[in-house]
């Protein structure tokens, strides 16, 4: 049984974007801050910090979650994917490219969360329509785009990925 004295730090071992990393964390450290401040991956954004906006969304064992509302120690032994894991060898992921091409971002603050949520959507469903995308991103707030171009980008990414096999 893991146990700690308050303030005592625990060794947290995670697989993040396929890489094995470990670092000490206080039990009260939230996963978002562990990823950003301890592991140095600042692609994951902290927006509202009150479980409302979804900017901090990461994939935990493939499932999108708000990393500001889960403790780093809870992710120990699990697999995390962040926005840094999307591009390969300097090539943007088709989803990232579609966001770029369709103006799916303006200030870009919500984009890492949007990308992770929609990555999970495209993986889980072979066919997605406008409604599926809107429902999937209903926990991710964007104050710039009005969502129209985000939805467009996700749908286009899906058809490009299908063509690309």
């Amino acid at each position: 049984m893991e146990q700690t004295v308050a303030n005592d730090r625990i060794m947290v071992h995670v697989t993040i974007n396929g890489e094995s990393r470990q670092a000490l964390a206080e039990p009260r450290t939230l996963l978002a801050y562990f990823i950003r401040d301890t592991l140095g991956l600042t692609g994951t954004h902290v927006g509202c910090d009150t479980t409302s906006c979804g900017a901090c969304t990461v994939l935990l064992d493939g499932i999108p979650v708000k990393s500001c509302t889960i403790l780093a120690v809870q992710a120990a032994g699990h697999e995390i994917e962040t926005v840094e894991g999307l591009e390969h060898n300097g090539q943007l992921h088709p989803l990232q490219q579609a966001f770029w091409d369709n103006h799916g971002l303006q200030c870009g603050f919500c984009t890492p969360g949007m990308l992770m949520t929609t990555t999970a959507l495209l993986r889980s469903q072979d066919d997605v329509n406008d409604d599926d995308v809107r429902r999937a991103i209903s926990g991710n707030l964007c104050r710039c785009t009005g969502y129209v171009n985000i939805v467009k980008a996700v749908l286009e990414a899906k058809s490009r990925m299908r063509e690309g096999g």
Partner: protein, 295 residues
């Protein structure tokens, strides 16, 4: 933002949980999905000195159907009902899609929502309508409490500091019965708490007579409420327009909302009326459709 410091335990068995609870009692809080508890701890509305993370209790991540009841383990998450429709309890799916947002639904648990006892929570209303009960366990005893006796007050239940909510049990209708259900939620924006939430579930026999009815109300009282008088008006009757209207106004009378920035008392009562009517009407239409298909 970050919570006050606390000691963290991640037990792998019930015995370990009970040992920790025995030692710390009400200083300890149970962490399941954490989608209410962690936000409260970050805002320092809650500052437990010990956190018991129960996500390692794998036996709780199961659903079983036995003895005419559905037994839902304490680690079943909202998403499990969002992506599945059980035709014997359609209300679960109908409700799940309205809870918070998809990201919260991926973590939050049904049992955690009940134990948290927010009067505006969607599961409270839905599971009251389904006449569910909860299994409560401590090191010394195991008891089953009907949900209708579980909620005491806002954020307060009959759970003792040494006890755990381990399972939710929902009675299942006869195999051949028709079950129709709806969950309606008035919210200011997606993901918000309900201004008013209404859960309706009705079992109808082939003659269209109501053999069982459940109506649960969210955000219109100090706890989630069951509209028991409205339910008893329905039982043994056909769903006529007059009866639906009568049951809806009875449910509105049974609700006990307060005026706040989400709406006035009168407005919320009126919405209960509208939603009960809408729910019962929709269920009746479902039933007619079903009869037409099988005829």
């Amino acid at each position: 933002m970050f919570p006050n410091p606390f000691q963290y335990y991640a037990p792998q068995s019930l015995d370990e949980i009970f040992q920790i609870l025995d030692k710390y009692g009400d200083e300890a809080k149970i962490l399941a999905g954490g989608q209410s508890l962690l936000p409260m701890m970050k805002l320092r509305l809650a500052a437990p000195s010990v956190l018991i993370d129960v996500n390692g209790i794998s036996q709780w991540a199961n659903v079983n159907a036995q003895d005419q009841s559905l037994q839902i383990g304490a680690l079943m998450r909202h998403r499990d009902w969002e992506h599945a429709l059980d035709s014997r309890v359609p209300l679960l799916h109908s409700t799940a899609v309205h809870i918070a947002d998809p990201l919260v639904r991926n973590r939050g648990t049904m049992a955690g929502s009940l134990a948290h006892a927010d009067p505006a929570a969607d599961w409270g209303a839905a599971l009251l309508a389904l006449k569910a009960s909860v299994a409560i366990q401590s090191a010394h005893r195991l008891r089953e409490v009907p949900l209708r006796e579980f909620f005491v007050d806002t954020f307060t239940t009959v759970l003792e500091p040494q006890e755990l909510l381990t399972e939710i049990r929902i009675p299942l209708p006869q195999n051949d019965a028709f079950v129709g259900a709806r969950y309606f939620k008035l919210e200011r924006k997606v993901g918000d708490f309900a201004v008013v939430g209404v859960a309706v579930t009705v079992v109808l026999n082939p003659e269209g007579v109501v053999t069982d009815a459940g109506i649960g109300l969210a955000a219109v009282g100090a706890t989630p409420l069951a509209a028991v008088n409205a339910e008893s008006l329905l039982r043994g009757q056909r769903l006529t327009l007059d009866l639906v209207q009568e049951a809806a106004s009875e449910a509105a009378k049974e609700s006990d909302p307060i005026t706040d920035r989400r709406g006035s008392e009168d407005y919320k009562r009126a919405m209960v009326n509208v939603f009960v009517k809408r729910g019962l009407t929709a269920v009746h239409k479902d039933w007619q459709l079903q009869m037409d298909i099988s005829a």
